[in-house]
């Protein structure tokens, strides 16, 4: 297990229940993962992510609700913001692979595990 911490931002309506579904199926992943839940990750400004990297987070996976987001216009705004975060990460020399925006539904167990596995590789490589 990598000791590098991965922050997983989940949504109340979609990916947080999705993470629960992984647990209910007793599927395993690394204990270096820390799930927080939010109404919608669109609330985080660009500096939230950069600050998290500064504070010892190795990788961040934003598990949004994607096109199924119940909040109108939130996903396109989130995607545009994450694009700006990538620009700022580049300017600071932080590898882009340490941040991932993805979509996880309430039953997306395999996709949830795949994202963690890929982020494990990304933080190990950086």
């Amino acid at each position: 297990m990598s000791s590098r911490k991965i922050l997983i931002i989940t949504t109340n309506h979609s990916s947080y229940p999705g993470a629960n579904a992984v647990g209910q199926a007793r599927l395993a992943y690394g204990a270096n993962t820390y799930i927080i839940r939010v109404p919608d990750p669109v609330m985080f400004p660009e500096d939230f992510y950069l600050r998290a990297f500064d504070k010892g987070i190795a990788g961040i996976i934003i598990m949004s609700s994607g096109s199924d987001c119940p909040y109108e216009g939130a996903y396109p705004r989130l995607a545009a913001r994450v694009a700006r975060v990538y620009e700022k990460m580049k300017a600071k020399g932080i590898p882009a692979a340490r941040l991932k925006l993805t979509t996880i539904c309430t039953v997306c167990r395999a996709a949830f595990l795949k994202e963690i596995s890929e982020m494990e590789k990304a933080v190990a490589a950086s």
Partner: protein
């Protein structure tokens, strides 16, 4: 004045120094078999801001809840963290405990160390324990920055508007009226009924749809709490939960307005219309859809099944027309998307209709060409069994091997690569080709746009969550009944409509309605009036600029705000936050997680 402050402090613990208690649940052995709960409690007892930390076998039990109440009353605890199962199970339970003990129920944080720790790190007890500690520390940091919150209350119109007067709309209105709630049906067609007007026999009862409709109509007409407007054309929907306004043009050309506390969307579905040339539709004679066959069956004389004056001795059903479509294979709809969803009810409906054909015209040979038979409902498989016994011949094709139709002047040949005979290429000759068409949502773009309704990738209205918040739209006070939300049969439609009505009745049970307090709040002292935030808000009227004492300020309408937080991210001075989910709380949680040790 001093006395008032004391009263408020006693009620909300607002001015008291935070005193946090942490409880770590064993959940029997569900958590404690993997996580060292004693160690977690010991670590938390040492954590800054924590007054007491305990572990217990079942925190959700009466004894577990009493532990919390005792600590609140005897130790003066005013903030609580429980590390246990998922908040979806017991967050409300523990909020209730705080309320019963006399403190604000929102001074509570629920940490999930079961579904997201012990159940997924069984092979790593040490890692799971360390993670449980970190997550609980993050929970403490969040609750330390939590303000007491109170449910927002808005006065509500004691009535529900039901848009659509088909089976779902009538059932919803009747169910609402049954609970004492006034209901107004707004139907665009000249009469009630929707698709019931077209259907023949309906399963599982075997009743004629016309008879079901008559019963509904009679009940609606007899119910004093229901008002019906048919031939009504809606041209405006505004307002918010408790206070919606719907303007419409009446059938006589006059205008009317309905004020309602809740809205039920019962806008129904349309049958998929095959495009010209799809399995010969619109080009060859004798290619019809399943709804056409149902109408034909209703109107055909006994003894001889006729179509366009000619006797039909054989017919072939082709399933999944307009459903489960494949991008790049099927022709997309006007929005560029194919219908990749399963329409669910068409398999059962096709078999039910085939059985009726066999009952009425036993000599008619029926061929059923399918990809999968999905007769998913209670005893629906019986229709498949009956069809098999009555001589319907089934052919199954693979997703990539669509049947090919070659039409002659009076009959069709369908070529199928049949999976059931190990990919034998078979030819079926049939007098009538019946395309088993799926469902598509009614065109309600105007309403969806006016009401800011979330629409799924399949174009149906989207409920917030199929298990946690079924039939609820993300917009407070709007509920979805029947096929406006997804393909469903009459039984499911009635159930969904009754659920929507029950939720509307619960919402409007009191003259003013409580709303979750998790909406945007503006710190007026910090707000610089820059005006960046309203542009981020997708909900009209939820966030506006205003002026107070000569200062420009952002102002939130809590009844319209959905609490998504889109406005929060753009504030350069962090003057706007979602109550209960503030950026400072998340920063502190990240600090706790990121910190070494």
């Amino acid at each position: 004045m001093e006395e008032n402050i004391k009263d408020e402090a006693a009620k909300d613990n607002y001015r008291q120094a935070p005193k946090t208690a942490v409880y770590v649940c064993h959940c029997g052995g569900n958590i404690s078999d993997v996580v060292d709960v004693k160690k977690v409690a010991a670590e938390m007892a040492r954590y800054p801001g924590v007054a007491v930390a305990r572990e217990y076998a079942f925190m959700c039990s009466s004894n577990g809840q009493d532990l919390i109440i005792d600590d609140i009353k005897k130790l003066g605890v005013n903030r609580v963290v429980v590390a246990a199962c998922s908040p979806s199970l017991h967050e409300l339970t523990f909020r209730g405990v705080l309320q019963r003990a006399g403190i604000n129920p929102y001074l509570y944080e629920h940490v999930n160390i079961r579904e997201q720790v012990s159940w997924v790190h069984k092979a790593d007890h040490e890692g799971a324990t360390a993670k449980a500690v970190k997550l609980t520390q993050a929970g403490v940091e969040k609750v330390l920055r939590q303000d007491p919150l109170n449910a927002i209350r808005v006065a509500a119109e004691p009535r529900v508007a039901v848009i659509g007067g088909g089976a779902a709309g009538m059932k919803a209105a009747l169910a609402a009226a049954g609970k004492g709630l006034e209901a107004v049906i707004i139907e665009k067609a000249p009469r009630l009924g929707g698709k019931l007007l077209e259907l023949g026999k309906v399963y599982p009862s075997g009743e004629q749809a016309s008879s079901v409709l008559k019963k509904f109509e009679d009940l609606v007409a007899a119910e004093k709490l229901i008002t019906v407007h048919t031939g009504a054309e809606i041209d405006f929907v505004g307002g918010f939960v408790g206070n919606f306004k719907i303007n419409f043009k009446k059938s006589d050309g006059g205008m009317a307005q309905i004020k309602a506390g809740a809205v039920i969307m019962a806008t129904g579905f349309e049958h998929y219309k095959p495009h010209k040339g799809e399995f010969g539709f619109g080009e060859a004679a004798n290619v019809v859809t399943l709804p056409d066959l149902i109408t034909l069956l209703k109107n055909s004389p006994a003894g001889r099944l006729e179509y366009a004056g000619k006797e039909i001795k054989s017919l072939a059903l082709i399933h999944c027309v307009g459903s489960r479509q494949i991008e790049g294979v099927n022709q997309p709809q006007a929005d560029g998307k194919v219908n990749d969803y399963c329409s669910r009810v068409c398999c059962t409906s096709a078999l039910y209709t085939a059985n009726q054909v066999k009952e009425k015209y036993p000599a008619v040979q029926i061929y059923d060409i399918y990809r999968d038979i999905r007769t998913y409902g209670m005893r629906h498989e019986d229709y498949y069994e009956k069809a098999s016994k009555d001589g319907v011949i089934f052919f199954r094709h693979a997703e990539t091997d669509q049947p090919i139709v070659e039409s002659a002047r009076v009959a069709h040949t369908v070529k199928v690569k049949d999976v059931l005979t190990w990919n034998e290429e078979l030819e079926i000759k049939a007098d009538l080709l019946v395309l088993v068409t799926g469902m598509m949502p009614s065109d309600i773009k105007f309403l969806a746009s006016q009401m800011k309704l979330a629409v799924g990738a399949d174009r149906f209205l989207q409920e917030v969550h199929p298990k946690l918040r079924p039939v609820e739209a993300a917009n407070s006070g709007i509920f979805i009944a029947g096929t406006a939300q997804a393909p469903m049969d009459l039984t499911e439609t009635a159930a969904a409509a009754a659920t929507a009505a029950a939720k509307a009745a619960i919402l409007l049970a009191e003259p003013d309605i409580p709303l979750e307090p998790f909406v945007a709040v503006v710190d007026e002292a910090k707000c610089t009036g820059c005006g960046l935030c309203p542009a981020e808000c997708s909900y009209e009227g939820a966030l506006m600029m205003t002026e107070k004492n000569g200062k420009k300020l952002a102002q939130v309408n809590p009844a319209l705000c959905k609490g998504c937080g889109a406005c929060v991210a753009v504030c350069p001075v962090r003057a706007i936050d979602v109550a209960g989910w503030t950026l400072d709380q998340f920063d502190a949680m990240v600090d706790a997680i990121g910190k070494e040790g």
